[in-house]
C-alpha cells in the first residue's frame, strides 16, 4: 500500500474530513451565535483596538522598552482617556436627555405644530396631515430618548465592557506572534507558504486600512468639534455638547457619506430646540461646517491616510451597510464598511496566492 502523502485516496479522505469539520464548525457557530454575540463583538473590538495600538507598542519596543511594559503604558493612557471621556460625556448626555424631554413637553412643540398646520392648510389644504406627521415624530423621538436613557443607565454593561476589552486587547498585543505561530502550526505543509504569505499580506493591508480609518475618524471628529466650537463662539452657544456631536460625526464617518449627516442632524435639532433668534442663519452655518469637513476629508485627509486598496463603489457601501444593519443594528452598520474592506482584501490576496503557488 502506498503510504506516501501523495496517495490519492488518502488525500481525498483527508479533504472530505476537513470539509466535514469546517461545515460542522460553521453549524455549531450558527447555533451558539445568539448566546455569544456580545462576547463575539467584544473580541472584534479588542482585535481592532490591538491592530490600532500595535504600532505604538512596536515603536516603544524599538526604543528598548520591554514589550509588556510598553503595552501597559499605552493601555493606561488609552483607558484613562476613555474613562475620562465616559465620565464627562455620560452625565452630559443624561442631562441633555432630561432637557430634551422637558422641551418636548413644553409649548415649543405646540407652537411648531400650529405653524406647520397653517403651512399645510395654506399650501396643501390638509392640516390633518401635519398633525399626523408631528404625532409620529413625537412618538419616535420619545421612544429613542427613552431607549438611550435606558442604555446609559445600564452601568453593568459598561463595567463588563471596560473590564474585558482592555484585558483581551492586552494579550492580543502581547502574544500576537504566539497566536500567529499557533495558528500557522495547524496548516498542512502543502499550504504552509501560501497561507503564511497571504496572512502577512492581508494582515499588513488590513492593519494599514484600520489604522487609516481610525486616524481619519479622529481628524474628522476634531475638525467637526472645531467647526461647531466656532459656530458656538459666533452665535453665543446654540449647539450644546458640541464636543460629543463632533466626535460622533467622526465615528459615523466610518460609513462613507453618512458622517456629516449624523453630525449635522443632532446639531441642527438641538439648535432648533434651543430656539435662538437667528435659527435659520445658524442652521446654514452648521451645514457649511459639515460640508467643509467632508470636502477636506475627501480631498486631503482620506487620500493621505486611508489605504486605496480597499476603495469601494458607493453601491457596494450601501449594500454592505444594509447587510451590517440587519446583522448587528447600528454597530453593524458602523463596522460594515471596514469589515467588507477586510473581506475584499482577503479575497484578493487569497486569489493572488492560489494563482502564484503551485499546489500540486
Amino acid at each position: 500500500m502506498d503510504k506516501s502523502v501523495n496517495s490519492p485516496s488518502g488525500q481525498i479522505n483527508k479533504t472530505i474530513w476537513r470539509i466535514f469539520f469546517i461545515l460542522l464548525g460553521m453549524a455549531f457557530f450558527w447555533l451558539v451565535y445568539p448566546y455569544i454575540k456580545v462576547v463575539f463583538f467584544m473580541l472584534i473590538i479588542s482585535w481592532l483596538l490591538a491592530m490600532i495600538l500595535n504600532p505604538v507598542v512596536d515603536y516603544f519596543e524599538s526604543i528598548r522598552i520591554n514589550r509588556g511594559l510598553a503595552i501597559v503604558i499605552v493601555m493606561v493612557i488609552i483607558l484613562g482617556s476613555v474613562i475620562g471621556i465616559v465620565a464627562l460625556v455620560v452625565p452630559a448626555i443624561m442631562s441633555a436627555i432630561e432637557s430634551l424631554t422637558t422641551k418636548l413637553d413644553s409649548d415649543l412643540i405646540k407652537n411648531l405644530t400650529i405653524q406647520l398646520e397653517k403651512f399645510f392648510q395654506d399650501n396643501f389644504n390638509n392640516a390633518a396631515l401635519a398633525r399626523d406627521v408631528i404625532s409620529k415624530l413625537e412618538q419616535v423621538g420619545g421612544e429613542m430618548i427613552v431607549n438611550i436613557g435606558r442604555v446609559l443607565k445600564n452601568v453593568s454593561s459598561y463595567v463588563a465592557f471596560i473590564g474585558i476589552v482592555p484585558f483581551v486587547t492586552f494579550f492580543l498585543i502581547k502574544d500576537k506572534r504566539l497566536f500567529k505561530r499557533m495558528l500557522i502550526s495547524q496548516i498542512p505543509n502543502r499550504y504552509f507558504e501560501l497561507f503564511l504569505n497571504v496572512l502577512h499580506k492581508v494582515g499588513d493591508q488590513v492593519t494599514k486600512y484600520i489604522q487609516g480609518q481610525a486616524i481619519d475618524a479622529l481628524i474628522v471628529g476634531l475638525l467637526s468639534v472645531l467647526g461647531l466650537f466656532i459656530v458656538n463662539l459666533r452665535f453665543d452657544g446654540p449647539v450644546p455638547f458640541f464636543f460629543f456631536i463632533g466626535m460622533l460625526a467622526g465615528v459615523a464617518n466610518l460609513i462613507p457619506y453618512l458622517g456629516p449627516i449624523v453630525g449635522a442632524v443632532p446639531a441642527i435639532a438641538l439648535t432648533v430646540l434651543n430656539n435662538p433668534s437667528d435659527v435659520g442663519v445658524i442652521i446654514v452655518w452648521i451645514a457649511v461646517v459639515f460640508v467643509l469637513v467632508q470636502v477636506i476629508d475627501n480631498n486631503i485627509i482620506s487620500p493621505m491616510v486611508v489605504s486605496k486598496s480597499v476603495n469601494m463603489h458607493p453601491i457596494t457601501v450601501v449594500i454592505a451597510v444594509v447587510i451590517g444593519g440587519n446583522i448587528g443594528g447600528v454597530i453593524g452598520m458602523l463596522f460594515a464598511v471596514p469589515v467588507w474592506g477586510i473581506i475584499k482584501v482577503t479575497l484578493k490576496e487569497v486569489g493572488w496566492g492560489l494563482k502564484s503557488y503551485k499546489l500540486k
Binding site: S4, E61, S62, N66, R181, I184, S185, E193, N197, S356
Partner: protein
Amino acid sequence: MKSPIWENIIFRKKSENSDTLEFLAKVPIFADLEDRELVEVERIVHRRKYKKGEPIFRMGDPGLGMYIIVEGTVEIVEELDNEEKKHLAELGNGAFFGDLALLDESPRSASAIAHTDCDIIGFFRPDLLDLLYRKPQQGIKILWALARVIGERLRRTNEQLTQLQREIKAPKHG
C-alpha cells in the same frame, strides 16, 4: 507561588525550545547575535516536519524565506518543462537554503523536496522585517551576516565563472 500574569509582563520567559536555540546559534546568519537576541529569533521561526517526497517549496513559487535543516536530507532540483527534474544539490543536517528570499519576493529558482523525513526550521522575510522595525539593532546584525553569506556565494560563483572561462578559452590557444 509565582503569579503567571506578572511573570509574563516583567520577566522575559526563557524559551522551552532550547534545542532550537542551540541549533540557531550555529547558523551563520545568526552568528553575531547574543543569547537573548537568539531567544527573540526563536520566537518568530517556524519549525516543521516534512515527510519523504514532500515539497518544501516549488520552482516558480514567490520567495518567502529561508529554511534550515535540523535533521534529514533535502534535494534541490530544477523542474524542466518536460516534467523531468534536474538534480542540483543534496543538503543535509545543518545546511540552509533559500536565503535570497529574505531579500525579495522573486520566484524560487529551484524546488526543494524532502529526500528523507525532515525536521526543518523556517525563517521568513515578513518576520525579519517586523523584527527590523521592533528591534533595529538586532535586525541589522542579521542583515549584515546575511550580506556576508550572499557575498561569499557571489565570490565563489565569480571564481567558478572565471575558471570556466579559462577552460573554454584554453583549447583555442592549445
